[in-house]
Amino acid sequence: MTPDLLETIRRALGRAQRAGAYAADAVLVESDSVEVRVRGEEIDFVKQARERALGIRAFVKGADGLRSAITSTSDLAWDAVDRLADDTVALAKATAEDPHAGLPDGSFAADLPDLELLDPSDRDVSLEERIDEARRAERTARGFDPRITNSEGSEATSSFSRIGCGNTSGFLAEYESAAHSLSSMPIASQDGAMQTDHWFSVARHRSALEEPEAVGCRAAERALARLGARRVPTCKVPVIFDGVSARSLLGNLASCLSGYAIYRRSSFLADRLEETIASELLSVVDDGRLPAGLGSRPFDGEGLPTRRKVVIERGKLETYLLDSYSGRKLEMASTGNAARSAGSSPRVSPTNLWIEPGASSLEEMIAGTERGLLVTGLFGFGFNAVTGDFSRGATGVWIERGERIHPVEEITIAGNLGEMLTKIDAVGSELIWLGSVAAPALRISRMTVAGE
């Protein structure tokens, strides 16, 4: 039998203090997960797991600041926990003093609102039901069109977690959460060429997932839409990002908003607070308390309450995303954006981060584009946060006179994110949550497309 989660945290903290820690905090994550994949008529795999991990951060007092260390283990026997706590303190003693290190100064989360992160009835779902859902998505995708000839399979996954967090300043709390997903990845072929794309639905409650048939159908449509794709000549044109690819763009932007990138000056947004950095059509919000949000949590990785904040207000940069350390470095308060798994140091992460939807539908944006590119997929890692230089592979659709002409592949789109933000001239009206980061379609008035 595993001892109680909070009891284990208490023990680790007590032991660290006895070993000489000036302060310490700990997180414990327990999770149960199941994952099934069906390919064609066959089960491809069934995977089940139970995982637990404890992470300890200890601070040791020095003349000019605190020394610190982070450790983790998946062995939660009492003697292993004691040894880990002792080792953490010993390791901390070897590091340098840092005047900015330490626990948050206070204001730990006092209220723990119910953020609807778990539906208890979802625990009763059998393995057979999940296999059936994956099968339904797979059958729909495979049967959608004769040109769907193969697939990488369809998956149904669920995970249930308990997350506990405590520190030597008296904070100790836990919460439960769940995540469920359904996905499908069919392959379309025509004239000897194959194309694949995928679609998925993810939610805290199974009842909020799209129906398996809807997932399979949309996945098949996306794969079919790529058939006959070709390159286009190198040019400079307006580029529309659909919600899926705009989300990837927002992820690039988020990495530049992290307090760590700012104090290290490894982000092109360093020293830009309260400046206009984007088109006034762009507003970005981060909210850790969105009900049933995939990035929602009642407290962050350091026990501070999460909250809603406008990050970019009509083009103006209002705040960075901070934990207590990066906040102290920048002489600002934490924004409650510390994220921490048992095996990692606290770092900054968005909670639920989204671009506020605008006025135009995707179809209106396409209709209003004389000649340009609709991007439906981005790949590769061609983004440099220090300079904002952006150059990534893309797939999509070529637009002439406001109409979709043909699918496009084997091209890159390039620009500088700083300039791209100011060149946003339309924002879509539909926001789909495919994770904790979401974006509507966006149009950027001019980018370089490299092709033939």
């Binding site: 089960i43 901390a92 070897a94 230089d389």
Partner: protein, 485 residues
């Protein structure tokens, strides 16, 4: 400083750390086999990982992580059942075995299982005297401090230094229903140096260099080990400070030796992994014996090179690694296999069954993938290009194995004008079609080099360490993404 990390031999590890023996292994496998399955295996792991990171001139924190667990797998036809637990005991392993066999129906056809042997791997590609996680943290900190002052002294434009020493010591044990019993102890070390340089106009650029492999950490901590890495990071940042926007369009590209071998990894390597070819979802499916590259192009995957980051004594299913010819003089010769895909395709595993950890299912993955050297003089290869791009270092890459399209981003590249390497350019991204690109290799240098040992490959959410290698090559008419039309 940690008793837990003191390395036992894997078999004593099983006994002392998890309280299990041969009999319990056999009982667990028999439980997994108690319905109709083709193969069952157990994967035990005990891993220690640590990292020491320097930034802003000080080592602010140390990290140390212990990870242990067991994964139990059953295979029936194309189906796989997998269960894993971080609690390793007879009981949890039995429970996992019962879950794993849930994919199968019908009574067992297998009899009793006997695992045999000493558990020693067939080769010893990475013996180390000192486990890298046992090297005192003070020694690692001292080297990071030395790197920081060396780099800051080397040029006033260097404004920020981030350096880290990362060490891993992995103990694994594999037991399978065919009697396989093998253990492996896998050290892995890495040194990273990243700098940010700023010129008088306030322009900021970054430079990175790293090195690593499966060898004594002391080699990287030695001045002869770390200094070239640190100097290279500085040089690359200063080059990037002068870089101009990259031209966009189709041009001839010369790839330098070593790390640009990532082209092979992305453009063709993934497409030759057995799972995609068994499922016929790869652009290379059913093409064995066909010409897929220009004459002279020979591509190898070799997991048996001593001390390399991508090397293994045995893969994560217990199969000895090997040297596999993928492409021979332009002709496709073979795919890379794990046990499942080899069995379903009627061939033998090539020792490419790898997994991130006990919490993951094995898949066919690359080890060290490289192109053999040719005859051409690298200087002459550059002179042969009238107008093009010379790319020497890359960041990451990605491929869509179904359409064959790949992309990878240069972190250091230059224009070639009139046969001469001229201006550095930034933001160059290369994109192409895997089955086509190697047809356009028109020159192959005699200077094959393997990378410095920092590569990681992601597939289906699993990351594993890999190596790549390339001689200088010329590829005609590649699409280069940049901002200058």
């Amino acid at each position: 400083m940690s008793h837990a990390a003191r390395s036992a031999t894997p078999l004593t590890l099983l006994r002392d750390r998890f309280g299990m023996d041969f009999h319990s292994l056999e009982a667990v496998i028999e439980t997994a086999l108690s319905r109709r399955v083709d193969h069952a295996d157990l994967f035990f792991e005990y891993t220690t990982r640590d990292a020491v990171v320097l930034e802003e001139g000080i080592v602010k924190s140390g990290d140390r992580h212990l990870e242990q667990g067991v994964g139990v797998r059953a295979q029936a036809g194309e189906r796989q059942g997998y269960a894993h637990s971080d609690e390793v005991s007879d009981q949890s392993a039995m429970l996992a075995a019962a879950t794993a066999r849930a994919i199968s129906e019908g009574p067992s056809s297998a009899g009793a299982v006997a695992v045999r042997g000493s558990g020693a791997p067939p080769s010893d590609l990475y013996p180390v005297r000192t486990a890298p996680t046992e090297v005192p943290v003070g020694a690692k900190i001292a080297v990071l401090n030395a790197i920081d002052s060396h780099v800051r002294r080397s040029d006033p434009r260097i404004k920020q230094v981030m350096a880290s020493v990362v060490a891993e010591h992995r103990n694994i044990l594999i037991a399978a229903s065919d009697g396989t019993l093998v253990a492996d102890v896998r050290p892995l070390v890495r040194l990273n140096v990243q700098v940010i340089a700023e010129n008088q106009e306030g322009r900021r650029e970054t430079g990175y260099q790293g090195a690593g492999g499966r060898f004594e950490l002391a080699r990287l901590l030695d001045e002869e080990g770390w200094k070239p890495i640190a100097d290279e990071a500085v040089r690359s940042a200063l080059v990037n400070l002068e870089a101009k926007p990259c031209p966009a369009g189709t041009m001839d590209v010369v790839l330098g030796p070593g790390w640009p071998g990532i082209l092979l990894h992305e453009a063709i390597g993934h497409g030759l992994e057995g799972d995609f070819n068994r499922k016929k979802t790869s652009a290379f499916s059913d093409r064995i014996g066909e010409r897929v590259a220009a004459e002279g192009v020979t591509v190898i995957d070799d997991g048996t090179i001593a001390e390399r980051r991508g090397s293994l004594n045995v893969d994560d299913e217990g199969t000895p690694t090997q040297r596999t010819v993928l492409i021979e003089n332009g002709i496709l010769r073979g795919y890379m296999h794990d046990r499942l895909n080899a069995r379903l395709m009627g061939v033998s595993s090539t020792g490419n069954g790898r997994r991130e950890s006990y919490a993951h299912l094995p898949m066919p993955r690359m080890t060290n993938t490289f192109m053999l050297a040719g005859q051409d003089d690298p200087e002459e290869i550059i002179r042969s290009v009238e107008n093009g791009l010379y790319a020497v270092t890359f960041g990451g890459g990605q491929v869509d194995i179904t359409s064959g399209k790949f992309v990878f981003s240069a972190s250091e590249a230059y224009r070639i004008e009139g046969g001469m390497v001229t201006t550095p350019v930034k933001g160059a991204t290369l994109i192409g079609n895997g089955p086509e690109v190697l047809h356009r290799v028109s020159r192959i240098g005699h200077d094959l080099a393997l990378d410095r040992g920092v590569g990681s490959c992601g597939k289906d959410g699993q990351s594993v360490p890999v190596g790549v290698g390339l001689p200088t090559i010329r590829v005609d008419e590649m699409t280069v993404g940049g901002t200058e039309g």
